[in-house]
């Protein structure tokens, strides 16, 4: 999978790595058992501090998306991610609350937001209905 990094973005690098991998899993580009580079290799390839990559990997591990192997990088284990649905829903609700608040403030119709969500689901190949 191709991981896009933007050093000028406001989003922290570790979140870009984390989000990139989650998107890869969602779109089916990354499947269970697929290897990820070791922390050192990915750090060297992107040109960022090893702590940054480590932070992303630790987070992905705690969220149940990957399994970290000693000295051999990491592999995708997205099967575990379903166990953390409750935690995810809490975080998602907070993020969505911000978006919906802004939509209300800007007088954007709820149908449009629904449509956007459906489009994103379609795009990433998730279970839409």
């Amino acid at each position: 999978m191709l991981l896009n990094m933007d050093f000028a973005s406001d989003e922290p690098i570790y979140m870009q790595i984390r989000n990139g991998i989650v998107t890869g899993i969602a779109t089916g580009k990354l499947r269970d058992g697929d290897p990820l580079p070791s922390v050192r290799t990915l750090g060297a390839d992107i040109g960022v501090n090893l702590h940054t990559v480590n932070k992303a990997y630790k987070r992905l591990q705690s969220e149940g998306f990957i399994e970290i192997l000693r000295n051999r990088g990491a592999v995708i284990r997205a099967g575990d991610s379903e166990k953390n649905v409750v935690q995810f829903l809490e975080i998602a609700e907070n993020s969505l609350k911000n978006i919906v608040s802004e939509a209300i403030t800007r007088k954007v119709d709820r149908a449009i937001i629904h449509q956007i969500m459906d489009n994103i689901f379609d795009e990433l190949g998730g279970n839409t209905q």
């Binding site: 991981l3 933007d6 990820l36 050192r40 040109g47 960022v48 501090n49 051999r72």
Partner: protein, 358 residues
């Protein structure tokens, strides 16, 4: 003219030659350390003109310095003074040719600033392929263990063989025969062991530090095609160089005990030279002729004067050189400074030691 002034004169000529041809040892989308979006820039009229001017200036500088040291050389009466003339010449060439390179780098930057057709260049963005298995991307660190057997053999030969060594032992060989001898002592007998330990340490450190060294041009997986394979081959060559140097010193150790034909000492040296040639071949095959595609990261700001890499956020201690074959350090990393000072200390200690040994 004896051996030492021949060696230093050859070194001088070699250094001058390397500086003159230096711009041709880069990726084709890199000109004097400045990165461009594609290989077409190499054959553009402006690039040709900058290279022509560099060639003219670097050759002129070399001719002037060579003339000055020639005057010194022919007026010197002692061998020491002749060696000194070339030593000063090497330093003068190093400084003067670096300045010529920096001027060419500035001209290239100016050319780049007005060259609007740089579509593939991107700022602050990089795309990484995550699917490359670790084993394919990076050579295993375990290979450095290959340096151990010969080192251990040399130690064993030194300790077991000490008793059977004659009182006077040959310590240096010319192409045809031994040409220097010493009284047997533990210091002399263990000397090859110490040299091997230092060689093994330098080779191991170079191997470990370069095994993840990124290509000099980044941006996307096709910005430097086959760079992983190139890096692996260079790592193998580094290791082989270490092994053949170890064989050389093991032969010296064996030579303390029994007669060794002087030609045997030259085999590892010749193989090491062949490995150097191999580096050039591998460089042209996997770097020089490769055509990049896709987005290329514009990171000229990280390459001070087009030759010194300074990037605090990059964890790599070693990175591929932007111009020239091999690796350079990331000057923003303390480990890089420690490594450089270590090498400098080793050279100084060797020089001082050989001075006092005489």
């Amino acid at each position: 003219m004896n051996t030492s002034s021949i060696i230093i004169a050859v070194t001088y000529i070699f250094v001058v030659f390397l500086f003159i041809i230096e711009p041709w040892f880069s990726r084709k989308n890199v000109l004097f350390g400045v990165v461009f979006g594609d290989n077409e820039v190499w054959s553009s009229d402006n690039a040709k003109q900058i290279r022509r001017r560099y060639l003219l200036e670097s050759i002129s500088v070399a001719v002037i310095i060579t003339m000055i040291i020639s005057i010194y050389y022919f007026n010197s009466t002692t061998e020491e003074a002749r060696v000194k003339a070339f030593l000063i010449g090497i330093f003068a060439v190093l400084i003067a040719e670096t300045i010529v390179f920096v001027i060419a780098n500035r001209r290239t930057r100016a050319f780049k600033a007005e060259n609007l057709n740089n579509g593939n260049l991107v700022q602050n963005k990089i795309v990484i392929e995550t699917g490359v298995p670790e084993r394919e991307a990076v050579i295993s660190a375990a290979y450095i263990l290959l340096l151990l057997p010969l080192l251990i053999t040399t130690i064993v030969v030194a300790f077991w063989g000490y008793g059977s060594m004659p009182d006077i032992i040959a310590t240096h060989y010319s192409f045809t025969a031994a040409d220097a001898w010493s009284q047997k002592s533990w210091g002399i007998v263990l000397n090859p062991v110490f040299v091997e330990i230092v060689i093994a340490a330098i080779i191991a450190a170079s191997f470990l530090l370069t095994r993840r060294a990124p290509a000099s041009v980044r941006g996307n997986p096709n910005a430097a095609p086959e760079s992983m394979r190139y890096r692996k081959y260079i790592n193998i060559i580094i290791l082989l160089t270490g092994i053949f140097m170890e064989i050389d010193f093991l032969t010296v150790e064996i030579g303390f005990i029994t007669f060794v034909h002087p030609l045997l000492f030259n085999i590892p040296v010749i193989i090491t030279l062949l490995l150097t040639v191999l580096i050039f071949v591998v460089y042209f095959r996997f770097v020089r002729v490769k055509k990049p595609s896709g987005a290329i990261l514009d990171d000229d700001a990280k390459w001070v004067l087009g030759m010194f890499y300074y990037n605090p956020s990059d964890p790599s201690v070693f990175v591929e050189k932007r111009v020239g074959i091999g690796y350079t350090v990331n000057f923003a990393r303390p480990a890089a400074w420690i490594f450089m000072l270590g090498i400098l200390a080793f050279v100084l200690i060797t020089v001082i030691y050989s001075f006092y040994a005489k």
